[in-house]
């Protein structure tokens, strides 16, 4: 459904050219949850930006269902690392906003927004302002807002990176539950190995300079994933394998 074909990204920094990423080839099927794992600076965020049409590849192309991705659109919904909610709107108004952008009248949009509010477990916090919420709750609101866009693909840029360890675990379980019910395709960026294993059907390891796909690792753990999954014996295997890869990737 989503295909990345020989994508290369080069930046101009001052007077010389930096070859940051690629060539990268990737195929993502409908309904898959793919995590992209790699050390900082490997270009995974850049890849995500190109998937969403926010940045263009220097060469190569990104396609969704055969159509080239050249600009941002509602089909690929982005969840940023910082929640990026409008501070001047309540949580419910924030979630209703993408719905309004599609031409729905405000009253009805607010109505529909409550459904997404409930989906992420924030039903008591509709009237709150973002500044009144904790980091985890804000990310939940941001997730609900992106879901309200009714995208085909969710692009998530280390959304739990700024949260404390406990909240992060809760959010991972929350996310996988929401995803299971939605049938969306998800591309999820992280540098956290246990997170990548817990969430993904596949873990794509990016590394080296310039960043390329070092390995495309299938995660054969039962679905739906719950907190019990974290103690599955295979998890340890995947962990040490991916650890090795990352160490090699960082050293490159």
């Amino acid at each position: 459904m989503l295909s990345v074909n020989s994508v290369v990204k080069k930046f101009r920094r001052g007077s010389h050219v930096v070859h940051a990423l690629g060539p990268v080839d990737l195929q993502i099927r409908q309904g898959e949850f793919v995590t992209i794992l790699g050390p900082s600076g490997c270009g995974k965020t850049t890849l995500l930006h190109m998937l969403g049409g926010f940045e263009s590849p220097t060469s190569g192309a990104v396609e969704i269902n055969g159509q080239a991705v050249t600009a941002p659109s509602r089909k690929l919904g982005m969840v940023f690392q910082e929640a990026t909610l409008f501070p001047w709107k309540t949580v419910l108004q924030n979630i209703a906003w993408p719905i309004e952008q599609r031409g729905v009248r405000r009253a009805e949009a607010l109505d529909r927004a409550t459904e997404y509010l409930d989906k992420v477990g924030l039903h008591r916090f509709g009237k709150a302002y973002p500044s009144e919420l904790s980091g985890g709750m804000r990310q939940r609101a941001a997730l609900a807002r992106t879901l309200a866009m009714q995208p085909e693909v969710l692009l998530m840029d280390e959304p739990f990176g700024a949260l404390d360890a406990q909240t992060r675990e809760e959010m991972q379980e929350e996310l996988t539950r929401v995803w299971q019910a939605s049938g969306l395709t998800v591309v999820f960026i992280t540098h956290d190995i246990p997170e990548a294993i817990f969430l993904g059907d596949r873990v794509v390891v990016l590394g080296g300079k310039p960043g390329t796909v070092m390995e495309d690792c299938a995660i054969d753990l039962p679905r739906p994933r719950t907190s019990a999954t974290k103690s599955h014996p295979k998890v340890l295997e995947y962990r040490s394998h991916l650890w090795e890869l990352i160490r090699r990737a960082s050293a490159a």
């Binding site: 926010f54 659109s73 509602r74 982005m78 940023f80 990026t84 409008f86 001047w88 500044s131 866009m149």
Partner: protein, 254 residues
């Protein structure tokens, strides 16, 4: 030692008392006609307010000043946003504006009079000319302050320029607009005052010159006090507006 809060309050009161005392000393040293005592100023103040002369003049001053501010705000916003979002326009316009900023625009007032005549329009134009600059600086900063993620969020939702302006740009620029108004309003009052010194004018500045020419310094100072109260009221109003309109920012510095 008394608690810090009561100390603070005593200091505040002490400061006011000190100011009033210094004034009275000055008044008593010189002839009261040259430097009026507080009692004389107070009496004239009351007299002027009740005679509606002060309020009429204030209305005249403020109406013209407000129009000038409005023009400056509109122009400052348009140019500020244009410069923030288009690098070519920015390169063409911004250096010129920065160049003109430290130049005292008041020196151009005779030219403005030549073009717009001695009436109200030249005053409005002068206010607009002087207030444009701080408002431009603020609106430019405000337009640039939209976080990159938010701009991308808008693109993600396929926002057209109009909706981007209303949904994202406007709320983000609101605190900057209010800061700009807070800086520009005293400038507006100064410009109105000076422009009313010359020519056949009405308004508070004209009153001051009028009373001074009669050597009625008590009345002149009374008008000055009123001017001050206006400035204070406008400032407090803007601060209040900020807390209500920009309700999502608490404890922010202005």
């Amino acid at each position: 030692m008394t608690s810090p809060k009561t100390r603070a309050r005593w200091c505040r009161i002490g400061g006011i008392v000190l100011l009033l005392a210094v004034w009275q000393c000055f008044a008593m040293l010189g002839s009261t006609r040259m430097f009026p005592g507080l009692d004389a100023v107070g009496r004239q103040f009351v007299a002027l307010i009740s005679s509606a002369e002060l309020l009429d003049a204030a209305a005249s001053t403020l109406s013209k000043g407000a129009i000038g501010l409005l023009i400056a705000t509109c122009l400052g916003s348009v140019v500020g946003v244009a410069c923030a979002y288009n690098r070519v326009i920015d390169a063409a316009v911004h250096p010129i504006v920065s160049f003109l900023y430290p130049v005292p625009k008041l020196a151009l007032y005779p030219v403005v009079i030549l073009v717009f005549g001695l009436g109200a329009s030249s005053k409005v134009v002068q206010v607009a000319l002087e207030c444009f600059f701080p408002l431009f600086v603020q609106m430019y900063a405000g337009a640039r302050s939209v976080p990159k993620n938010m701009a991308w969020l808008a693109a993600n939702n396929e926002l057209g320029p109009l909706r981007f302006a209303t949904d994202v740009l406007l709320p983000t620029m609101l605190p900057f607009l209010l800061t700009g108004l807070r800086v520009a309003t005293p400038i507006m009052l100064i410009v109105m005052c000076v422009t009313e010194f010359v020519g056949e004018s009405r308004g508070l500045g004209a009153l001051i010159v009028q009373y001074s020419s009669y050597f009625d310094t008590a009345s002149a100072f009374a008008v000055v006090m009123f001017f001050g109260l206006l400035g204070l009221a406008a400032d407090r109003l803007i601060v209040f507006a900020r807390t209500r309109l920009v309700h999502w920012e608490r404890g922010g510095q202005l």
